[in-house]
Amino acid sequence: VKVGFFTDTTLCIGCKACEVACKQWNQLGDDGFHLTGMSYDNTGRLGPSTWRHVTFVERDEPQAVLPSFAWLMMSDVCKHCERAGCLEQCPTGAIVRTEFDSVYVQPDICNGCGYCVSACPFGVIDRRQDDGRAWKCTLCYDRLKDDLVPACAKACPTASIQFGDLVQLRTKAEARVEQLKAHGVDGARLYGADAACQKGTEGLHAFFLICDEPEIYNLPPDPSVPTKGLAQSWRAMAAGVFGLAVLAASAVFSARSSR
């Protein structure tokens, strides 16, 4: 079965237990404890050694039911896209789709070419410069194989991060949006729940319920797997290459009899 995350940001309290659980289970190095000055977010971004990241948005705009000042917190993670740019662009085959339909980087194959870094429309995967390889969330591949829930979902105290069968999660998510709307939270919407919701990636295996425009959570509004337009590029290249060959031939043959 396809499994994944449904992250309901309306339930997130910003405790960062998911960040800690992820670091601890996967034995990743810390982030150096820098203060960023961006609300309570001192993590800043997803990175090669940071596979969960809680964003803290301080929204100060009048709303229908919520008070005008609102905390919007979201635990961000690799989206394990249905059409994953990193996977499709990986030239070594180090990035694979697992039996759980997650996207996994095999550290013993990756040679650190860095192409996936530029191919990810969400800016998730990155190369660790001192390690030389690309790293990202594994959806706790090791735990899944032992029938355990990923560390972040296990640690989440408010069920903001829910793990399970994607079909069931989608049903649950849609019901939750209805419920929120009935309570007057007009901005509630799903981000990347399926192919209809996000055409470019054909749906995310880690999707979100957000309360405002995706931009304020640092999510791209309409991401697309970069391989989608490649046919156009290859056709343009064929034209360019043909032109170059014609140019070379005509330059030489026209100069043949000059002196």
Binding site: W25, Q27, L28, G29, D31, G32, H34, T36, G37, M38, D41, G44, S49, T50, Q89, T92, G93, P107, I109, N111, C113, G114, Y115, V117, S118, C120, P121, G123, R128, Q129, D130, D131, G132, R133, A134, W135, Y141, E213, E215, I216, N218, P220, P221, D222, G229, Q232, A236, M237, A239, G240, G243, L244, A245, L247, A249, A251, V252, A255, R256, S258
Partner: protein, 343 residues
């Protein structure tokens, strides 16, 4: 039992004697605990007077390309090698004594360029020792994987073609090797544009069709400028001059077409107008224009060599400029947002 070893300082805070290092990330080699990446914290990339839409503290959405100077340098070397192979094949095809020098120079340049290209690409890898993993799969969805195969085929063909000039062999064998080098060479020149277009970086993605054309033309211009540095006798020099003039003109036109294509969303084209990338891009246009006009004014040797040097500088500036523009573009969240909102 407590260990007497000092606590590990790699940020994991796990004493290897007390805990098992078996987690997924325990394989990570950590020499230096993370610093803020790209220095972006607190410097939210705002220019006075900008009215930006919503963003997350102005932080980038995308990760900056991690490629070092090796990659734009490879774009240049590969372009020279590939277009020289094409010109060499044409020169060998006319099969005349006064084109023999040109054909040989082209094929030797192509072979040397293929070797240097391979070296540059391997040096850029995070794990250079594993470069061979590029060839454990054939994956048409990945331009980098196809590029590896193209470069490998080109390297083999170009080396064989270069050697064929110095070994006695039947004419058709030599012709076949040289034609093979030419055919793979033109592909090598063009695919690098597809490589960049196949990323999520707004300024590269915004020119899906234009980048491969620009790289083909610019590769030819780089090859032409390189060959202008040599004296090869009258008809061969004439051929080089025509090749160089036409490709430099094409490159100049295509830089304008490229800028217009990415300018469909003005914010995306911003790196071509500002900062280091803007200087490199404009500088390359100016250098190309000068090196295009110079040989038309005079056919003196010093003028040809000057045009060759300026053309080479232009080709390098264009490649470094486009990579630099990609970095700036990935750093700017509004380029990503506005491009996607524009559809």
């Amino acid at each position: 039992m407590r260990s007497n070893k000092p606590r590990p300082t790699d940020g994991r805070n796990i004493d290897p004697l007390l805990g098992t290092l078996a987690g997924e990330g325990s394989l990570q080699r950590i020499r230096q605990v993370d610093a803020p990446p790209h220095g972006e914290f607190g410097s939210a990339g705002k220019t006075p007077g900008d009215v930006d839409g919503p963003s997350y503290y102005g932080l980038p959405v995308l990760k900056e390309p991690v490629w070092k100077w090796y990659i734009p340098a490879y774009f240049y070397v590969g372009g020279v090698a590939g277009s020289c192979a094409a010109l060499g094949a044409a020169a060998a095809a006319v099969d005349r004594e006064d084109f023999a020098d040109l054909a040989r120079l082209c094929d030797v340049t192509a072979a040397a360029g293929a070797v240097v290209s391979g070296g540059l690409l391997i040096a850029d890898l995070g794990r250079p020792g594993r470069f061979i993993n590029m060839m454990r799969v054939f994956r048409p969805s990945s331009p980098m994987n196809l590029g590896t195969w193209i470069l490998t085929a080109f390297g083999g063909a170009a080396t064989a073609a270069a050697i064929s000039h110095y070994l006695p062999m039947p004419r058709w064998t030599r012709g076949l090797l040289i034609a093979g080098a030419g055919a793979t060479g033109v592909t090598l020149t063009g695919y690098t544009g597809v490589l960049l277009a196949g990323t999520a970086v707004p300024i590269w993605q915004g020119a899906r069709r234009e980048l491969p054309l620009l790289f083909s033309a610019s590769g030819a211009a780089a090859g032409g400028a390189f060959l202008e540095l040599f004296s090869l006798g009258k008809p061969a020099e004439k051929a080089v001059d025509r090749f160089a003039t036409a490709s430099k003109a094409a490159e100049l036109v295509l830089t304008v077409v490229f800028e217009r294509a990415v300018g469909r969303v003005p914010r995306v084209a911003r790196p071509l107008r500002r900062g280091l990338s803007g200087w490199l891009f404009r500088g390359s246009q100016a250098l190309t224009a000068v090196s295009l006009v110079l040989p038309l004014l005079s056919s003196r040797r010093a003028v040809r060599v000057t045009a060759g040097v300026l053309g080479t500088a232009a080709a390098l500036a264009l490649r470094f400029g486009i990579i630099q523009a990609g970095r700036a573009s990935a750093r700017d969240p509004h380029a990503t947002f506005e491009q996607q909102r524009a559809g």
